[in-house]
Amino acid sequence: MSSAPTREVNPALIELVQRGINGDRRALARCITLIENRAVEAPALMHQIYPHIGRAHLIGITGAPGSGKSTLTNELIKEFRKRGRKVGVVAVDPTSTLTGGAVLGDRIRMLENFGDKDVFIRSMATRGQLGGLASMTNDVARVMDAFGKEIVILETVGVGQDEVDVAKAAHTTLLVEVPGMGDDIQAIKAGVLEIADMIIINKADREGVEKLQLHLKGMLSLAPRREWQIPILRTIAVQGEGIGEVADAAEKHLVYLKNSGEYEKREKARLRDELLGRIREEVTRRVLRLETAPGGLQDTLNQLELRQLDLDQAAYALYKKSFE
């Protein structure tokens, strides 16, 4: 991203992409790494795969920690495999802001699919991506799409705007709720509920299912009426119960999107978000390069501290300087 993509493409990159298209899993793994690291090759990589994307159904799964997202994902992988689809999964866990490290443990619940060469699972840390986390995971989903995955599941915890944005960027967004997780308002903050295309009540053998369902119905009835009726489905993911219905509803939702013109509308909104994210990323990167330059980031911070400049002045001055 440090410079506009050059059109002179490294033959090694072309080879890597070709291997990925031919189904080499190690090539897919490496392409994801390049995107995640925002490597210099990333823009050229995206350019190479662009002609091959647009076929996969992106499914976002979000919900509170412990609601069973990974277990549900595992069951959905199995279900879609039964339906003959190739499945990719991006499972995102938070990076520690203190150390930059992360423990990525979602895979542990998806081990059953090991040995199936048409399932590819990648764990990812949030990292504080400059251009937005969703923009990065979207690119990863694009690579999976280009390399033949027909279903791409994006799983993130439903706390924090960045994480929610990942699931929101999918074609079909599933919100996972659980009965008995304390205050029902707590369980369904308005912002997260708004992005859901489907609501899953997982662990539905627990006490409080009826109450939660009633509550969710009530919340949905207050939302503006839309053509797509948001289904509330019950699952017991650990036992594989209700998973077929979830897959059915997700497929139905994709059909709805395509027939209603909503598909293009969402695609455009998503591209808009990503485009603005890329611009933010590029500007931030340029400014960060001026960290120690005279009149650069550190100098400007000192001036701010001494109140010789206010924030708006400082930001504009640095922005201008970064293009000199």
Partner: protein, 158 residues
């Protein structure tokens, strides 16, 4: 272990800003059910600024190598207390080789008799960390020996 991981938190915070994100898979091959050590290392390396993937107990060599492949990790830590390392480690190293993943740093921990360490290292496992190793030592070893940032080339043909 406590003080070790606290010290490493500080040095990690510095290195996290200056270096790339190192990805490590911590795996428990075989049938022993003792994963306290693996979990402590997982947590410790996280605090040292690394991204650690933990896949749980009872992993076969194929599962470990497949996870390492999909996650494109820079290093693999194998924790074993059952004594089956003489059987499982060679299998894991062979599979890594077959997949062209020779650039992945492999280290081991757990209960491995000192007289077998050389034999283990001859497989290409670069370090064996027994009980008493500090997290800082492990983290430093990984940082110093890990491959350079992942580039365009990957080995292996499927």
């Amino acid at each position: 272990m406590e003080s070790g991981s606290q010290q490493s938190t500080q040095s990690a915070a510095q290195s996290a800003t200056s270096s790339r994100n190192i990805r490590v898979l911590i795996a428990k091959p075989g049938l022993d059910g003792h994963d306290r050590g693996a979990k402590v290392v997982t947590r410790g390396l996280r605090d040292a600024g690394m991204e650690v993937i933990y896949t749980g107990l009872h992993q076969t060599p194929d599962m470990i190598v497949e996870a390492a492949l999909q996650e494109d990790v820079d290093a693999i830590g194998l924790s074993i207390l059952s004594g089956a390392h003489t059987v499982l480690f060679p299998r894991i190293m062979k599979l890594l080789g077959e997949n062209g993943m020779d650039d992945v740093l492999v280290f081991a921990g757990g209960i491995i008799p000192p007289e077998e360490v050389e034999q283990i290292k001859a497989l290409g496992i670069q370090a064996v960390f027994g009980p008493g190793t500090t997290i800082e030592e492990t983290a430093r070893f990984i940082r110093q020996n890990v491959r350079p940032a992942a580039g365009l080339s990957t080995g292996g043909v499927q």
